[in-house]
């Protein structure tokens, strides 16, 4: 081996070693707000994210022990490769394959969300896991049972002690660990984000789609999170289920048929779309806005401007908008090992 060969080999080996080391020992950075994102709404003051808390939350997220018969975990219906939704399922099947009535929403950028679920029935991320754990068609358990399973396990008491300083497994610590995992699931590495950071540029089609998005979509799907977190009726024809949406939690007639505006990030990974998963591709969604909006009670004013229902979109505009929406896919997020089952 010549001196030159030796040096090259050394550098390659060192490089590979460094790479591996980077993956294994990547220092835990805690929760970080991307600089072009707004301030998060989550209350970190009462639940600071720690490495041990986050890792405990991740373990809980992927553990079917939370369900009544040890079959369904959070990750069953929130699959990372599907942008933390239930890929291909209009509505999810939970325990005993019981079907729900709504499409599984993504676990993504929840630190900026002030309400949870399609109807906003949960107002604190800490309280969110109670809903699927106790729902008859999801995990059909009680939180008390789930906690008892954890208390009786050989691993969890020690993990709770590591994360919270006490091996007593309380509802509060259990829920806070899950919240720590969920707030860490930040998606900010799409091409759009690279463009925001001046690390990439849009193609001319993407740029044209971006401008159309700004004109026709951005009042509800506001940058950079691509939702304004409001509740709106977007004119979907009520289905057989006749889901009344936000009305269920407010009982205000003005909330009938309103659902939370979902983010447009990671759409390639998260079909089908809408609260009941009725559209299997983005053409279905865009066609709805272009020509299928129904004048149901509380239809959003933005969808009936000038007495015309929907949003005018030519076929060419739809293609450009779709090209832009593709720039919101965050491959790094859906493959990030930190968020995967370990």
């Amino acid at each position: 081996m010549s001196r030159k060969q030796f040096i090259v080999t050394f550098i390659l080996v060192a490089g590979i070693y460094a790479c591996n080391k980077g993956i294994i020992d990547m220092p835990f950075m805690g929760f970080q707000t991307p600089d072009y994102f707004p301030q998060p709404t989550y209350h970190f003051s009462t639940n600071a994210v720690t490495k041990d808390g986050f890792e405990l939350g991740r373990k809980l997220f992927y553990d079917p022990v939370l369900s009544a018969n040890n079959t369904i975990s959070c990750g069953s219906c929130h699959i990372q490769t599907a942008g933390f939704t239930h890929h291909g399922h209009s509505v999810s099947h939970g325990i005993f394959d019981r079907l729900g009535t709504r499409n599984s929403p993504p676990i993504m950028n929840l630190a900026w969300s002030s309400t949870f679920m399609w109807d906003g029935g949960v107002f604190d991320l800490d309280l969110q896991p109670v809903a699927p754990i106790t729902n008859h068609v999801e995990m059909d358990n009680t939180v008390e049972n789930a906690l008892n399973s954890l208390r009786n396990s050989s691993q969890y008491p020690a993990l709770f002690k590591k994360a919270f300083g006490s091996d007593e497994i309380t509802s509060a610590n259990f829920l806070k660990a899950l919240a720590q995992f969920m707030v860490m699931c930040v998606s900010n590495n799409s091409k759009y984000d690279s463009v925001r950071r001046n690390q990439a540029t849009f193609t001319s089609t993407e740029q044209a789609g971006y401008i159309l998005y700004q004109q026709k979509c951005s009042s509800c799907h506001t940058e950079p999170l691509f939702t304004d977190y409001s509740f709106r009726n977007n004119g979907l024809a009520p289905s057989m289920v006749n889901d009344s949406g936000r009305y269920k939690v407010t009982l205000q007639p003005t909330d009938l048929y309103k659902f939370k505006v979902p983010s447009l990030r990671n759409l390639d990974y998260t079909p089908p779309y809408k609260h009941d998963g009725r559209f299997f591709d983005l053409d279905g969604v865009l066609d709805h806005y272009a020509s299928q909006v129904q004048n149901t009670p509380n239809l959003d004013p933005l969808l009936q401007q000038g007495g015309i229902l929907g949003i005018a979109l030519t076929p060419d505009e739809k293609e450009k908008i779709k090209a832009f929406l593709k720039t919101l896919n965050d491959k790094a997020f859906v493959t990030d090992r930190r968020f995967s089952e370990q």
Binding site: T46, G120, G121, F123, E144
Partner: protein
């Protein structure tokens, strides 16, 4: 003269001591136990879960299989007008007819005589929205097996009564009443404050070393009989629903002071 002086002195001491006893009967700086007993009844009968059969004003017969409710935020007013608010963290209780206890939460209050008792039936909105770490004991969402908490619409169920009745198409009825007014958007508020006069049926005299108990009768027929009368046939199932406000209005009349054990 000496003798007379002695008598006068004795008399003075006697009355002085009487007076002294009066003023020092209660020490407002000392706290003592006062229990409030929630004795669940149905009209003029004691409530018997699963076995007793009762008839409401709509003429429907029914049995009760479950009765649970939160009482909280106790405030007591002395006969001299002084108001004592029980510290909030010690002021949440869950009454469960099936648990075999006396259903008599014990409060720590300053010594004295009290003329009114007030409490909230349910859980106040502030506590309903507090950080999960500040909701322990009966307020833990897992309390009572999670039976008194809605996960899908974050909030406590304040009052729950279930039973069977041939008047119901399904054979049973369930009333789960909650609603603290909403956090992100206003909605129904079924938090009810109950205020009871204690003077007519026995003023509690609270003093250290003795047990004082305010005995309340809680008549579950009032849930059904009010304005409007609740019909099991028409409304066998009422949960988070606008109709629940009628039931909540009815059940504020459930409570009456029966007597005080001093």
């Amino acid at each position: 003269m000496k003798r007379i002086s002695f008598y006068i002195l004795s008399i003075v001491i006697f009355f002085a001591s009487c007076k002294k006893d009066d003023t020092s009967l209660y020490n407002p700086n000392v706290k003592a136990d006062l229990s409030v007993e929630f004795d669940n009844i149905a009209g003029s009968s004691d409530l018997q879960l699963n076995t007793g059969t009762y008839t409401n004003a709509s003429g429907e017969t029914f049995k009760v299989t479950k009765l649970k409710y939160y009482v909280s935020n106790f405030i007591l007013t002395k006969t001299d007008g002084t108001v004592y608010t029980v510290p909030q963290n010690e002021s949440y209780f869950l009454i469960d007819e099936s648990d075999g206890t006396e259903h008599a939460p014990v409060l720590e209050v300053p010594e004295g005589e009290y003329k009114t008792l007030s409490f909230v039936l349910g859980v106040d909105s502030l506590r309903s929205t507090k950080d999960i770490s500040e909701r322990t004991g009966v307020l833990d969402p897992t309390a009572a097996g999670g039976d008194m908490y809605w996960g899908w619409n974050s909030g406590y169920i304040f009052f729950k009564i279930e039973g069977t009745s041939s008047a119901s198409m399904m054979g049973d009825f369930m009333y789960h009443i909650g609603g603290f007014g909403g956090y992100t958007s206003p909605t129904i508020n079924n938090i009810k404050t109950i205020t009871l006069d204690l003077t007519a049926r026995g003023i509690p005299q609270v003093k250290q070393g003795k047990e004082t108990n305010i005995h309340l009768m809680v008549d579950i027929l009032k849930v059904f009989n009010g304005s409007p009368n609740l019909s099991i046939a028409a409304n066998p199932m009422v949960m988070f629903d606008p109709y629940s406000t009628n039931i909540a209005n009815n059940y504020t009349a459930m409570f009456r002071h029966d007597h005080t054990e001093n």
